[in-house]
Structure formats: structure tokens, C-alpha cells
Amino acid sequence: MNSGMSIIVRTITRLVYGLALVFGFYVIMHGHLTPGGGFQGGAVVASAFALLLVAFGAAGVKGKLNAHLLQTLEEIGALAFLALGFVGIGTAFFYNLLANSGSLFGGPVVPLGPNPGVFSAGGMLPLMNWAVGLKVMTGIAAVVIVMLVGARKEETE
């Protein structure tokens, strides 16, 4: 059974796949400066994985995307997010300990009003964005892979 799609779709996928990945990682990394964040960027990256799966089929990506590995990474992201919430437990749960502290991601004080933004600011926000982004992208990708493989097996039976 030919599980992939036509050569037009595969060529366009090869062109668009990298751009979608780069845009998704940009949205995750700049979540505290530009619109978006961990959830949105993770969904963009997962949609790139889904595009790859739809265009090349489950057989085409077999051995490259491992659902077990993706699930492990998702749990690592969830635990990292929970641990980052516990960092400021001395004051309150989810207290932003690093903001304006002067250390890493404690950055200079951002002036009020429109400004170009400081990347190394925001305290825990970038770290939480990366944890949640890892969790969302791997979680949705694992769901898509497992469901596609399951649907293909239903078809052949």
C-alpha cells in the first residue's frame, strides 16, 4: 500500500517543513517578547511534524520519529514546568524569583511603554516557555503519530 501522497505534496512539504520548524522555535524562544508562547509555538512545531506524517505516510517516517521517545520528552517538559513552579515556593507557588534579580534572565529593568524588548529578561518566563513548548510539541506529535499508525492498521485489516 502506498502510504504517502503525490510528489507535488512531498516537494512542497520539503520546502515548508524547515520554515515551519524555525517559525515554531522562534515563537517559543521569544514568547516573553512577541505574541505567542510555549503553547502556540509548540502547536506550530507539532503541525510541522503532522505535515511530514501526512505527506510521507507512517512508513516514510518510521524510525525517524519515535513515539516512545516523544512521550518521554513530553513528561520531561511537564516535570520541568512543575519544578520551575516550585522554584519560588519560598514566597508563593509560581513566584517569579528571577525577574529583575540581575542574574541570568534577570536582565535590566524594562522601561514602561513601547520598547524593542530585552531577551535576557522576564525571569522564569523564558524557562517556563521552553518547558511548556517542549511538552506541547512532543505531546501533540506523539498523539498524531500514534493515531495515524493506528488508523493505517485499521485500514489494512
Partner: protein, 91 residues
């Protein structure tokens, strides 16, 4: 008969929406804006992030985001458990 019921319901809901639209508050003037003003004024100095939405989601309302992440985790675990039988034959 069924089409008449659907039409009556459609007209009823439409008239209700139109009536409520005429008595809506003017745009940009909510009843209470205390929290909005607090976030707009203090987010950049307190959290040092330009994106106020991310500051609210991950800092001021971080516990709510933990619940959202738990919902996604439960959905992923549920789907993987549902398709486990099919995956065992695959590998």
C-alpha cells in the same frame, strides 16, 4: 413540522441577540477595569516582559497554566493508552 420548529427557534435566538446587541456597553468601556489597568501599568516593571499575556499566563496565573498542562498531559496519556494494543503489533 420540524423545519417550522427550527425556523421559530432561529428567529427567537436571532431576535434575542439583536435585542441584546442594542443594549451593549460601548466598546472599550468595561464595567470594571481595575485588573486590566494593573496589568498594563505594572507588567513591564514587575516581570520585565513586554508580552503582558505571557506574563499573566505564566506568572500572575501560573497555577491555572499548570492545570492546562495537566489537561494536555492527560489527553496524550489517554490517546497513547487507547492505541497501545495497535502499537504492540507494529513494533
Amino acid at each position: 413540522m420540524r423545519k417550522a420548529v427550527i425556523l421559530v427557534a432561529f428567529l427567537f435566538v436571532g431576535a434575542f441577540l439583536l435585542l441584546s446587541a442594542t443594549s451593549m456597553r460601548p466598546f472599550g468601556e468595561p464595567t470594571r477595569a481595575d485588573m486590566d489597568d494593573y496589568f498594563i501599568v505594572n507588567t513591564q516593571t514587575e516581570v520585565a516582559a513586554n508580552n503582558a499575556v505571557t506574563a499573566v499566563v505564566f506568572d500572575y496565573r501560573g497555577f491555572d497554566t499548570l492545570g492546562e498542562a495537566t489537561v494536555l498531559f492527560a489527553a496524550v496519556v489517554g490517546v497513547l493508552a487507547l492505541f497501545r494494543k495497535l502499537r504492540e503489533d507494529e513494533t
